[in-house]
């Protein structure tokens, strides 16, 4: 278990999000905008569909021989004078980064946005060890100042108003200002420019790593990724093992679809290819380059039920289209990775126990699978997770009883046929206008937020039998 379970139940967290009127508005605006931009980008790019298939094939083939491609990556990085470290758990990864910070006498670390460092809760560990971590992506910087966590994979501070950001800058930076995004951004630029130039350590994630060339690839819009990998003396990149791709040819395929899926841009402003430490003759670049390869539950899914979740590019497209995410936002999920893919990643990192509620936070509508650039079948895996949660007897007991009863009913045709007239009998006091609005006792949980269709006056089976009898079939 690498992450602490949320203190309040999912229903409460979701309720809180639903009552937050600003959040509701922000979520609607942001997700609607991202959906539109993504659609326009792919409409203009007819070859996109074939590239999505190719990208998926590359992910499958790479995972199939992950040992080979990682070994190739390690060799390529070491040939360029970089160092590779191996972290089985979040704790290992934190210790490796802290050791590097200590050995290089680093007092301040600048970070570019990285979900992997969020996943291992690196900032808290750095602070405890006396190293000041500074998030440099504007959204991440804002939530770091506010002591919060990201609410969207690519837009971490969408839950904050410009007024709240202005108050935050006044309180934390002593800079009184108008709530104007332009002015606020300029303040952040000045504050963070100083940090980039002072910092000893640069910490990043990795969108990809190219095995054959030993190249770590970072995609940003602000340019902070470039700063972090060029100005400090030491660069540490933390990367899940699944992010490796074989070649530059493969990388081009992913670049062609990643930004379109995330923000609808043809390409993000900066795609930075890092080929290890500074080379002779260069004015800038780190003296030391370290790559930390992170397992943290991933490796045992290579042949496991959540295998496909390892294809994820972290573009956020499935969040934007998800009817659940669009209502409750990222924080209500309670773990580092929100949204449909987040449920699977949470199960991968923290075990199925951690998603016994979240596995149901999906309508299984399939919008996520359609939006996913590598066509991850998220709904299928959510159903499997629900099954596993059920089998392990970690689902809530009323659910287990009801589904157990339903299961034995469906397995016995005679009993099933009998259930229609019995159902009609028992439902009588509850039916209003063809639906059941409220059920008694524990069953009331189900009808609290939705209606149950009533058993029909004549079921299909009964009507079919009638037709056969009348010889009209």
């Amino acid at each position: 278990m690498s992450e602490v379970a949320p203190a309040t139940p999912l229903r409460e967290r979701a309720g809180q999000a639903l009552r937050d009127t600003f959040l509701q508005q922000a979520l609607t605006i942001a997700t609607t905008k991202f959906i539109g931009l993504r659609r326009e980008a792919f409409d203009e790019f007819p070859e996109g569909e074939a590239l999505r298939d190719q990208a998926r094939a590359i992910k499958e083939a790479t995972l199939q021989r992950l040992d080979h491609w990682l070994e190739t990556l390690i060799g390529s990085i070491e040939r360029r004078g970089g160092h590779v470290h191996y972290a089985a758990s979040a704790e290992d990864a934190r210790r490796i980064v802290l050791d590097i910070a200590r050995r290089t006498a680093s007092g301040m670390a600048v970070k570019s946005k990285s979900m992997a460092t969020e996943e291992i809760h690196l900032n808290e560990a750095l602070e405890a060890a006396g190293v000041t971590p500074v998030e440099t992506d504007l959204g991440e910087y804002i939530i770091q100042l506010a002591h919060e966590r990201p609410s969207h994979i690519i837009a971490p501070a969408i839950h904050k108003t410009k007024g709240q950001v202005a108050e935050l800058f006044a309180r934390e930076l002593g800079r009184e200002t108008q709530p104007d995004p332009e002015v606020l951004t300029r303040i952040a630029r000045a504050e963070l420019r100083e940090k980039f130039l002072q910092a000893d350590l640069g910490i990043t994630g990795a969108n990809f790593a190219v095995a054959e060339t030993g190249t770590v690839v970072l995609v940003t819009n602000e340019g902070n990724g470039r700063m972090v990998t060029s100005l400090p003396r030491v660069h540490v990149a933390l990367m899940g093992v699944e992010k490796v791709v074989p070649s530059m040819t493969d990388l081009a395929v992913f670049l062609a679809i990643l930004a379109k899926s995330a923000t609808g841009q043809k390409l993000s402003v900066y795609t930075s290819l890092v080929d290890g430490p500074r080379r002779g003759g260069e004015l800038e670049g780190p003296d030391e380059f370290h790559l930390v390869l992170l397992d943290n539950g991933r490796i045992k899914q290579i042949a496991g039920p959540l295998r496909e979740a390892l294809y994820c590019l972290r573009c956020g497209a499935c969040l934007n289209v998800c009817p659940v995410y669009r209502q409750i936002g990222g924080h209500a999920y309670g773990y580092t990775y929100p949204g449909p893919i987040g449920i699977l990643l949470t199960a991968m990192l923290n075990g199925p126990e951690s998603v016994k509620d979240l596995a149901h936070a999906s309508s299984l509508c399939g919008a996520c699978a359609d939006a996913c650039p590598v066509r991850i079948d998220i709904p299928r895996m959510l159903v499997e997770l629900r099954k596993e949660v059920g089998e392990r007897r970690i689902a809530p007991w009323p659910e287990r009883v009801v589904f157990g009863a339903l299961g034995s009913l469906l397995r016995r045709p005679a009993l099933y046929r009998l259930s229609a007239p019995l159902g009609r009998l028992f439902q009588r006091p509850f039916v209003r206008g063809g639906v059941i609005r409220r059920l008694p006792l524990v069953l009331g949980q189900w009808t609290r937020t939705r209606d149950l269709p009533a058993v029909a006056a004549r079921t299909f089976q009964e009507r079919w039998a009638d037709l056969e009898r009348e010889g009209r079939r």
């Binding site: 094939a57 499958e60 199939q64 992950l66 992506d137 060339t213 081009a252 043809k266 290819l273 260069e282």
Partner: protein, 249 residues
């Protein structure tokens, strides 16, 4: 955990995946350098269409394109950009990497200009030059690839090719010619293969950047704001008659 232990864990899992995947990833080009040279010859025949498409896409992402006839007109173009914005100081790539020497001509036009050295220098000098770049108003760089499909400038770092020139000043001016043009991202992938055919390559530094317009963010209420960390403005000067860059690949 050691490398051997880590890889052994992965191997024991990949051993169980036989038959789970039926993937056939796209084939990779053999001999990418030769392929790239061939592609460049093909592209040379339709550079006009390609530069027009590049211009459209570059302007769409917020870039400003300037066209000049000959290389000797480049300093005037840069001085004009600086003059309109009252910019005073310039850091530039070394003349050989850029394809022309801009330091003296820009100094003659009243701009405080420093061009990067193309050999290894001391740590002290590197720090001084970094401070210079951080204080500069405008950075001048070359372009290794200009991708028409996306309006992207690709710059490879190296000796005489400081990363900071396209990053620290608020205004970036990139100078290129038809040789740099490619049509698509996938063609750029071929160039990346060619550049990495030897690892580590004999030329180039440790950083390759695809730059698609000015630095931007929409992190506060989705309001698009330019110049958050990198340049607020990106200009590209296209030299019709070509530059005299010694192209490595």
């Amino acid at each position: 955990m050691t490398k051997a232990e880590f890889l052994a864990r992965i191997r024991s899992e990949t051993g169980r995946t036989r038959g789970l995947f039926e993937a056939s990833p796209p084939p990779r080009p053999a001999r990418p350098r030769e392929r790239l040279a061939l592609l460049r010859r093909e592209l040379a025949e339709r550079w006009r269409e390609t530069v027009d498409r590049f211009t459209r896409e570059f302007e769409r992402v917020g870039g400003v394109l300037h066209r000049v006839g000959e290389a000797r007109e480049v300093p005037d173009a840069i001085a004009r950009i600086a003059g309109e914005r009252q910019l005073k100081s310039v850091v530039a790539w070394h003349g050989d990497a850029l394809g022309l020497d801009v330091a003296d001509p820009l100094a003659a036009r009243g701009l405080k200009t420093s061009a990067a050295p193309d050999t290894e220098v001391s740590l002290t000098e590197r720090e001084q030059r970094r401070a210079l770049a951080a204080a500069a108003d405008l950075g001048v760089t070359g372009v290794d690839l200009a991708i028409a499909e996306t309006g992207t400038l690709v710059v490879v770092s190296g000796a005489g090719r400081p990363r900071s020139a396209s990053l620290l000043p608020a205004c970036h001016v990139a100078v290129f010619d038809r040789e740099a043009l490619v049509e698509s991202l996938l063609q750029a992938g071929l160039a990346l293969e060619a550049w990495h055919e030897e690892a580590p390559p004999e030329w180039g530094g440790a950083s390759i950047n695809f730059i698609t317009g000015p630095s931007r963010t929409a992190d506060i209420e989705l309001t698009l704001t330019r110049g958050v960390h990198g340049p607020r403005e990106v200009h590209a000067v296209f030299v019709e008659q070509g530059l005299t860059v010694a192209r490595r690949v």
